[in-house]
């Protein structure tokens, strides 16, 4: 009888082409809209994730930091990290590798009459390894550059573009604080995060930066290093705290005048932002589920009258409730799966197409959960609204089903 019921359902699907088509279409649109939206948003997520990964791993950053009441208060007690602090940490803590002090300044750069404010960082040669960002063209800053205080600069790609440095920027000179620096390398592209370019920066040897900005770089200075063994991270943080407090002569009852942050902390602060985005995404997914669901429901409910009469006729000539239910269940499952499968393909296609057409949009990414959610929800609604009214109609006296309008 099962095979009979399957044939009956398939026969009913084929003999009511328009109705079957509309039902399939409803489910298809439901699934496709969910998948498209999720694919696009997951694409954005994936690219944010990737950029966070690019920030490097097992990196510790120490920055000058105090809890200041006011700006005046801050300027009075302005904390500092010195090159000597950096040397002391490197000497005293063996777990530290690739230690590099960074001097960061927002500065004007000039080239061929064009001016731009960008962030200038004075760095060590180890910067590449610590940050996991490497030079793409030319070379990076070397130990010799540091030793001889060379006026050389490695540029982020955004500067090359916006300053119109041309096809072959290496060898040209730009002005930083009115001092000419020779371009020796171009960093690899990092893209953008929340609409801000991550390639808008210039790197110079830390010794040259000190010459440029003075011995004390003030609150812009930071020290970055990597920890060889991640398990030692907490111990290293503790050691840094002890050494720096001693060097800065901080009494026991006073707080640190620096802040130690790890990659983990950065990821945490990112995930705060992503949580907000996730909430918005869930809202959008919810709306597309609703829209898709209403579409499916509508088509199913529109046919209820016609189908109730059909049920009346079938019962009048000998169908049992079970016969009716299994026919409608098989019909709904078949159409839902058909619509669901096409919907998934269409949704993925649309997502990729949209991601391609919007400039600078990251590639779409369809996670399994979105497929399962879209498919499960749409087929669920399709089956529910296909079978539930049928079940109700099948419980009626045949004559009441026949009279339904």
């Amino acid at each position: 009888m099962l095979i009979e019921n399957i044939l009956l359902a398939l026969n009913s699907i084929i003999s009511n082409k328009m109705r079957s088509f509309l039902t399939t279409l409803g489910i298809l649109i439901g699934v496709a809209s969910i998948i498209t939206v999720v694919a696009l948003i997951q694409g954005i997520f994936a690219s944010i994730d990737q950029q966070i990964q690019q920030l490097g791993s097992n990196i510790v950053t120490i920055q000058p930091h105090i809890e200041a009441q006011s700006f005046a208060d801050y300027m009075k007690n302005r904390p500092e990290l010195t090159l000597e602090d950096a040397d002391a940490l490197k000497r005293l803590i063996p777990a530290i590798i690739d230690l590099a002090p960074v001097i960061g300044e927002g500065s004007q750069i000039k080239y061929a009459g064009k001016t731009r404010t960008t962030s200038i960082a004075g760095v060590h040669p180890q910067y590449q390894e610590i940050n996991g960002q490497y030079v793409e063209e030319g070379r990076f800053i070397t130990d010799l550059d540091l030793e001889y205080h060379r006026k050389v600069v490695v540029l982020g790609q955004e500067i090359v573009k916006s300053m119109k440095l041309g096809e072959r920027p290496i060898g040209k000179s730009i002005l930083i604080q009115n001092t000419p620096f020779k371009i020796v390398g171009i960093m690899e592209k990092r893209g953008s995060l929340f609409g801000r370019s991550l390639d808008d920066y210039a790197l110079i040897p830390i010794s040259s930066a000190i010459d440029l900005y003075g011995r004390i770089a003030g609150h812009f200075a930071s020290i970055q290093f990597r920890v060889a063994d991640m398990n030692q991270l907490d111990k290293v943080k503790q050691q840094c705290t002890t050494i720096l407090r001693r060097r800065h002569k901080i009494p026991d009852n006073k707080p640190n005048d620096f802040k130690i942050s790890t990659q983990e902390d950065i990821v945490k602060s990112f995930s705060k932002t992503t949580n907000v985005i996730t909430a918005i995404v869930m809202g959008i997914v919810g709306i597309s589920l609703l829209v898709g669901g209403i579409g499916i429901m509508n088509i199913m409910l529109v046919t209820v009258t016609e189908r109730t009469r059909e049920i009346g006729i079938r019962k009048a000539v000998g169908a049992t409730r079970k016969n009716i239910l299994s026919q409608f269940l098989i019909e709904a499952v078949t159409l839902s799966f058909l619509g669901g499968a096409i919907g998934i393909l269409l949704g993925m296609g649309l997502g990729n197409l949209a991601a391609h057409m919007i400039p600078h949009f990251p590639p779409a990414h369809t996670p399994i959960w979105a497929i399962l959610l879209g498919f499960g929800f749409s087929t669920g609604i399709g089956i529910l609204f296909g079978v539930y009214p049928a079940g109700k109609a099948a419980a009626l006296n045949p004559i009441d089903a026949l009279r339904h309008e």
Partner: protein, 227 residues
Amino acid sequence: MLIQVEDLTKTYLVGTEEVHALDHVSFTVEEGEFLSIMGASGSGKSTLMNLLGCLDTPTNGRYLLKGTDVSKMNDEELATVRNREIGFVFQTFNLLPGLTALHNVEVPLIYNRVPRKKRLEMSLAMLKAMGMEERAHHRPNQLSGGQRQRVAVARALVNSPALILADEPTGNLDSKTTLELMELIRDLNRKGNTIVLVTHEPDIGAMANRTITLKDGKIIEDVKNAH
């Protein structure tokens, strides 16, 4: 005794008003009888037929079919009765619009679990007997009223039920097709089928060997017809 009806009552509640569509009706029908039911519009003929066809449930009273109380049957037993014991011809045909004539006739056989090949043979033979084999692959909306009615009759007969219930089967037919259909029904009766037929027209009612007349849900006359 094929049909035994005792105090059969059907009351509809329309708003706060009770409509006694059928009011304590009692009668019996023997196997092989040809009974016609007559009466003015609204007298309760269709209500009675729907109850006899197990398509509706009475408010009160008993209906025994072959000695079994129909009200005690469950869904599956009722389905079996509708499928094998009764062939019902509706005034409004009630064919499935998506199916061809052949597949409409086939439906009762599906629920009777007749194998597919046999089903199609039987359905086609039935349509042939109705003179409809040339229209076997037409859908109901491609058929005339008379043709649809013949498909509906074919569907009612295909499982060879002992009892045939026809609610104004000639209501939508011209006089020529009416006579053809009546000839067919009389033929079935001669072959032993029990027939209950609702009609407005006295000369059609008179073709039966017994006529019950309803008025306001009550039997006002029950006579044998001399032929």
